[in-house]
Point group: C2
Chain length 381, copies 2
């Protein structure tokens, strides 16, 4: 992997280029999430049409289903899902540690039960590295432990130590020179722990990039933004920075301002399926009665098919009637919105104008939300 | 509407052209069903890409949801669903009469309760004609009664009389010269009634075409084929013939041989959603274990994206994981198959070779089904 920092805005926001095995990624970037080897309801052509540059796959989910044998047969995830551009896989750590009651941690790894059929499995730093090499993503993530932000301090210390040791073992287990690997900085909501762990992790100079993990797991927006602003600058300037599992458009704008380059989140895709659409004019909740006769597009300013070909009135009909097409159209729109937001951020960085752009964009979004709050409840039912 | 019979094969199979308000339809044709103003899981661009020439909308469903006010705002169904090619709407008769226990028939029409919210509504020949004019399809269907094939003879006689009287009233109520209207021949499984009703209906020369209704409602395949072969030739040669709600690939091949021009059925779209795929090599049931490691395409001979970009192994994974993408990919394939089948039939008719083509195609399909039956049960679980 080759990383080029193209421009640093006075605010600290960065524009950069990642040259990966399957192509170039220009940051700041949002990465659509394709958990099980598909971005839900999105044919790969639709992702290409909207200029998605990189997608995510999920190690835990792909390992369980369809399983490594199937992925191996396809020569990796790229060929299996017809995605010829860069891919990133998370390490499965987050999913495994979320299996409260179904997993047991020891110093070498985690034994867990499948959420699908209850079968028993084991992840170690070595096995997770091997699995990710089989999946063949352009970027693999080190196997980390992501404790709840509310866990006792003592537990956080133990978890950090494990994450550090496992990171070293992941690096040792690597065999694919065409696959980059990112380390993950944990530390919950403690600045002290974040600083310590960032220092420890970034000493492992074989990592091609670093991620901030363990956020967007229940803390307040203020805590998330505060911790992002604190941690991002602790990461090396000459490597990509990735804020995992984050977030709202607001979170991305703040994250870019803090010097983060890469984001992923299920929010645009999951909210789409629930009829919640992101626009420059605020969030549109499609089930609301006020859209029933609304002949305007979902968003006046969006170039996607959903906005240029259909009315809110028709889109609401599809949503109320639970028509399958709506999952595609809404996902298409929300991802278009997220990708465009990051392209706009990149343009602002190149203009040296990120701080202005960010505060204006945030103010506009806040205004739209406040206006929305004034709409009578009856029109929203 | 202008109808041109381009070629009649010695077997009776016909190739023809319908010039409609929104374009030309070349027959034999299969019409994808878009019940609620969308062909399930199919963006209109995908339908255009596969050269779908005409789609169906459902009067009963569209009237209840989104309702006429919404459709009127869009200037009709075409604009609402972004479909610029021909549309046909059924009259809603079939749906209303299926609401056993929720509807009451009198001589002027039917009072019924909505399957969505239980609200009370009334269809008359006049109201159904007006609704279809509002929807604005290129072809409207007369309001008919479709009794169960098993209903007593006396009931069939009454229903036929109502259907005849209502057909006259539909013709009288028409006001749109750009919308064709087809009459519907009923008569259950009685050749006597079919002959009588065909004679009565075809005397109404204002109809631009005629349909065979009341089949594919529970009778055997043999009865369906027999009644199709009997009834189709009773319809005028110089007008299009439409076999409603039919059917399997075999049914279509037999129907074309009987002189039918147009077909619609939920089978390709509904079966797609259930993981049952039509191919030249027989029906593929995607959940079967034997596809788990199968690196071959769904169909070697199919040019659709589903077959050219993905393996059975991946498609089965998507189906087992209930991934939304699969509904799109499978529907795309099944509709491509049905449209191609009718294009092949049309080519055979122009070659004066329909009978040979049909018997070869049917034989190949039968052979594939027999081969499939020999596969051990364990591989199908």
């Amino acid at each position: 992997m080759k990383y080029t920092l193209e421009k640093e805005d006075p605010s600290g926001a960065r524009a950069s280029r990642l040259e990966l095995a399957h192509g170039v990624v220009e940051t700041p970037i949002f990465m659509p999430v394709g958990t099980a080897g598909t971005v839900k309801a999105m044919p790969p052509d639709s992702l290409r049409d909207m200029n998605a540059q990189i997608c995510l796959g999920n190690t835990y989910h792909l390992y369980l289903r369809p399983g490594l044998e199937v992925i191996k047969n396809h020569g990796g995830l790229h060929g299996m899902m017809d995605w010829d551009r860069p891919l990133l896989t998370d390490s499965g750590g987050f999913q495994v540690f979320s299996l409260e009651g179904l997993r047991k941690i020891d110093k070498d790894g985690v034994t867990f039960r499948s959420h699908i059929d209850g079968s028993s499995h084991r992840f170690t730093p070595e096995s997770v590295t091997e699995i990710q090499e089989t999946i063949g993503a352009d970027i693999a993530m080190a196997f980390d432990e992501c404790p709840a932000a509310t866990a006792p301090h003592k537990y956080h210390l133990e978890a950090l130590e494990r994450t550090t040791r496992w990171a070293e073992r992941c690096l040792d287990a690597r065999t694919r020179p065409d696959q980059a690997m990112f380390g993950i900085v944990q530390g919950g909501l403690s600045k002290e722990l974040r600083a310590e762990h960032a220092a420890t992790m970034t000493r492992m100079s074989d990592f091609e990039g670093f991620a901030i993990g363990g956020l967007s797991v229940g803390e307040t927006t203020e805590e998330l933004h505060d911790m992002t602003r604190y941690t991002a600058p602790l990461l090396p300037k000459d490597k990509p920075r990735y804020l995992m599992g984050v977030g709202t458009p607001e979170d991305l704008i703040v994250g870019v301002g803090a010097g983060v380059d890469m984001f992923d989140c299920v929010m645009p895709t999951r909210n789409a399926r629930n009829g919640k659409l992101f626009t420059n004019e605020g969030v549109v909740v499609m089930k609301q009665a006020r859209h029933r006769y609304d002949m305007s597009p979902l968003s006046e300013s969006c170039p996607c098919i959903t906005c240029t070909r259909f009315t809110r009135s028709y889109l609401r009909h599809l949503f109320i009637a639970k028509e399958l097409l709506v999952f595609h159209l809404f996902t298409l729109h929300n991802l278009t919105f997220y990708l465009q937001l990051m392209r706009d951020a990149r343009a602002a960085i190149f203009e040296g104008n990120y701080e202005n752009w960010a505060s204006e964009t945030l103010a506009k979004r806040k205004e739209a939300a406040e206006k929305d709050a004034l709409i009578p409840k009856g029109q929203k039912s």
